[in-house]
Subunit: 150 residues, 2 copies
């Protein structure tokens, strides 16, 4: 059975492995142990911020997926909350089995419970199947996702 | 001279007018006075969250532009902070004069001061000139921006 829960400190090494187990993440992450201190700091910042949730998917007591949810209050749309989904990963050996869809649907359920009006995410255009994946769940690719590295 | 500062409670009516003074915002916002309570609540939520900043551009003591900046800690990119820019508006009579560019550059400066690695935003594909506007500032449209209304 698949279980969703908030990530704990002891999941962090596994989560960083998941983030790196990805066509784009592999060049961005540092999986050396002990983990780079910045991961610890980011985990702490996420954990203590009530507007951020790091959700893991667990299968047979193993963390097989992760995503981060951020709740943001906006004035637009008559003063409404949005949720942003980021850092979605499913372990490579578990892909194509519906775990990703279940994880995103879990994020949507959590967002609904918080009274969120709009869930949004950006997906790299290099991930050729991702747009269709999210469209099947109900997302619409109405926007350009633009990034600036500092 | 253009001045940038954090929004104050007394700017709120003017900001909501700016949000509505827009091809897409006009159908989404409610400019009736007194303001809908949800705007007050959203303003309060933004103001008391240290990870959210509502920035206004002031010209001759008049608020002529607004945007919201949100700082988010992520595990990805070796545990880094990102800034998200949302709700960018310039009063219609002040458009085409460089205010928008100045406002976005102010947001980028603020993000840099916070040690942010990546600034991102989504822009509706219906805003035909916006993509080019952000590209001139240095943003790259590498991602699909996907939204799901709940």
């Amino acid at each position: 059975m698949i279980i969703f829960r908030e990530a704990k400190r002891e999941d962090l090494e596994r989560i960083v492995l998941l983030l790196a187990d990805d066509m784009l993440g592999t060049g961005r992450e540092d999986v050396s142990i002990p983990l780079h201190q910045a991961y610890e700091q980011a985990f702490e910042a996420i954990s203590k911020d009530k507007h951020n949730e790091l959700i893991v998917a667990e299968w047979d007591e193993k963390v097989v997926g992760v995503c981060q949810l951020t709740y943001i209050p906006y004035l637009t749309y008559r003063g409404s909350w949005r949720a942003i989904i980021e850092g979605v990963r499913i372990a490579s050996e578990f892909r194509g089995k519906g775990f990703g869809e279940a994880l995103i649907k879990e994020a949507i359920v959590r967002a609904k419970e918080k009274g969120v009006l709009l869930v949004q995410l950006t997906t790299d255009k290099q991930r050729s199947k991702a747009k269709h994946f999210y469209e099947k769940i109900g997302f619409k690719a109405t926007h350009e996702g633009m990034k600036l590295e500092l």
